[in-house]
Amino acid sequence: MTYFLKRFAHMVFVLWAVATILFFMFRTMPGTPLAAFIDNTTTAEQQDALIRQFGLDKSLGEQYWLFLTNALQGDLGQSFFFKKPVVEVVMEVFPNSVILTLTSLIVAYLFGIVAGAYLAWRRGSWVEGFGIPLVLTTRAAPEFWLGMVLLAFFSFYLGWFPSGGANSSGSEWTSDWQRVTSLDYMSHLALPAITLAIYLQGLPLLLMRSNMLNVLQEEFITMARMKGLSTWTIVIRHAARNALLPVATAFALGIGGAVGGNVVVETVFSWPGIGRLLVNAVAASDYPLAQGAFLMITAVLVIMNFIADVSYHFLDPRVRFATR
């Protein structure tokens, strides 16, 4: 219980710190934030109106305080470009990012765990000789390049999948849920998810393989063999269970990292996710939107780090129960 509260307080601290860094970074960067909207046609009054509207006339301290209090109430200001509250814009695309991240991560981890365990089992064989370099190569390949190759081959050349976006243009949907579960959405999701899965499976695979190798050398595994338990029971009920603990933590960390990290894949497949929103917002120097998107990504990252730590704490009895 103590650990939970301590770690929660720590998370809030980190979130606040990053938000502060973010706030000052945007303010102190060269170039006025309104550069994109002030061209020679807008008159002086319009400029002042714009500045007042976005609260830029107040002192930095006041702006900061305003920023914080509003952020806590979920008000991240107005997007210059979309003329809509930032939160609204962000929430429109956020589900796409979450879906992309979860599908690719789940596929990557399922494959990684099974392949990792298998590689551990076939230690020293040719399978390992080819397997390890292959996995390391998937870790070494830039995600977006993987995406480009898949796009060029499966979409443009074979035409199996659409070349971008989340839904074919011109299609209407009765509800978000219906849109997201439609076949059309799935076919758009396929290629980006596969690209990400190829990249993400490296970590769980190597982690699972190494944990299995370590656990299989432990004495309680030898004892299990001496008890005459079947190999299958030993591998699943004892070895895998011990080896899976760190992988579960890595999964939570993976989610946190991926939501922000998918921006390049989202760009290759023009997948309307939060990462791409950030890139476009920054390109259009729509800084409230960029700031909002960045804050959302940070929130997910920090919260997932927190969940990873806490989950490990509860999953591993050695940590949960201090020696009595």
Binding site: A224, K227, G228, L229, R241, R318, F321, T323, R324
Partner: protein
């Protein structure tokens, strides 16, 4: 005779070649007796006893000899047939139970797992039997729901003993079961182990480096050095009238609490490299009584009722024993 080990030979494949860890080891384990296997680190005692369960690291190779349990030679059995014997007939108590118990399982469940999987019991019956086993070794039933890391050293060893006795095996192999414990707890666990052994009439093979523990619990003792048996027999005979120079040296090097203030004499030099062991008697380089014939393999001399010594000069054991008591005998033996 419950267990007969005959000329057992075990090699380990390593990057530097084959290490002959056990080279022609023989000993018997009568039903209901406790056999002590004594020797220093690297003498092959753990390899020899682990071989009885045939659960060895992948680099280990059975290169010869036989291990017969009630007449069936375990070395010749197939993997499946051998598995039938495991834990039902042969059980094992590890040195430090800390990493011998699965850290993410409650201890009670690990006992029940064996009872259900290998003892053919129902879950409920297994639960009751586990409580019985824990009570037998002096642990409360409430401890069953704890995790291994919540056990103290002594409690973990008691849990391991309970685990070993779960299917009432005929033979329990204990590899340094109390070495990691403090002397008071060690005494308590040894007493518990000994009383249970007598009660259940289980044969025990106890591996240790401490001859005092052997004197305290064992009926027979086997002294090993560099992969070979150098002497074996009833504990009283071997301790009071050691017939092999290594046993004499071991006794002299052992500080004794009650003995007079005698000067300890170490055995100089170190054990031979088992990659290419010396010809003949392996203790030759460190033995103060080695003579020319020691370059050939020492014969097995019967020096008393069930008391053998593998030494060319076993017949002169009585006077060797006297000279061995004087510390200067052991000084400057090896030129190394």
């Amino acid at each position: 005779m419950l267990l007969e080990v005959r000329d057992l030979v075990i090699d380990y494949r390593s990057t530097r070649g084959r290490v002959r860890a056990v080279d022609g080891v023989s000993f018997n384990v009568p039903a209901g007796a406790i056999i002590g296997i004594v020797g220093e680190s690297g003498c092959g005692k753990t390899t020899a006893v682990r071989a009885i369960t045939r659960v060895m690291p992948s680099s280990a190779v059975f290169s010869g000899g036989s291990i017969s349990l009630n007449g069936t030679d375990l070395v010749k059995l197939s993997e499946r047939d051998m598995q039938k014997h495991l834990w039902r007939d042969i059980a094992y108590v590890p040195q430090s139970a800390m990493n011998a118990l699965d850290p993410v399982w409650r201890v009670g469940r690990q006992v029940e797992e064996v009872l259900v999987a290998r003892g053919g019991m129902e879950k409920k019956a297994a639960r009751v039997r586990s409580e019985e086993l824990f009570a037998m070794v002096g642990l409360g039933a409430n401890r069953l729901s704890d995790y291994p890391h919540q056990f103290s050293g002594g409690m973990r060893q008691r849990a391991s003993i309970a685990l070993a006795l779960a299917l009432s095996p005929k033979l329990v192999i204990a590899d340094e079961p109390v070495t990691a414990l403090d002397v008071v707890i060690q005494r308590q666990v040894l007493d518990t182990f000994a009383t249970l052994q007598k009660q259940l009439n289980v044969s025990v093979v106890l591996v240790t480096h401490d001859i005092s523990v052997v004197a305290y619990v064992c009926d027979y003792v086997v002294v090993m050095y560099a992969g070979k048996v150098v002497e074996s027999g009833p504990v009283a005979d071997v301790l009071d009238r050691p017939a092999h120079p290594y046993t004499m040296g071991l006794y002299n090097a052992f500080p004794e609490l009650s003995g007079d203030d005698r000067e300890l004499s170490p055995i100089e030099g170190s054990p031979p490299d088992l990659l290419d062991p010396p010809q003949g008697c392996r203790f030759r380089a460190r033995c103060p009584f080695s003579i020319a014939t020691c370059t050939q393999d020492p014969p097995e001399h019967l020096v008393g009722e069930g008391h053998i010594a593998n030494c060319h000069r076993a017949t002169e054991a009585a006077d060797l024993r006297e000279t061995a008591k004087r510390t200067e005998t052991w000084v400057g033996v090896t030129t190394e």
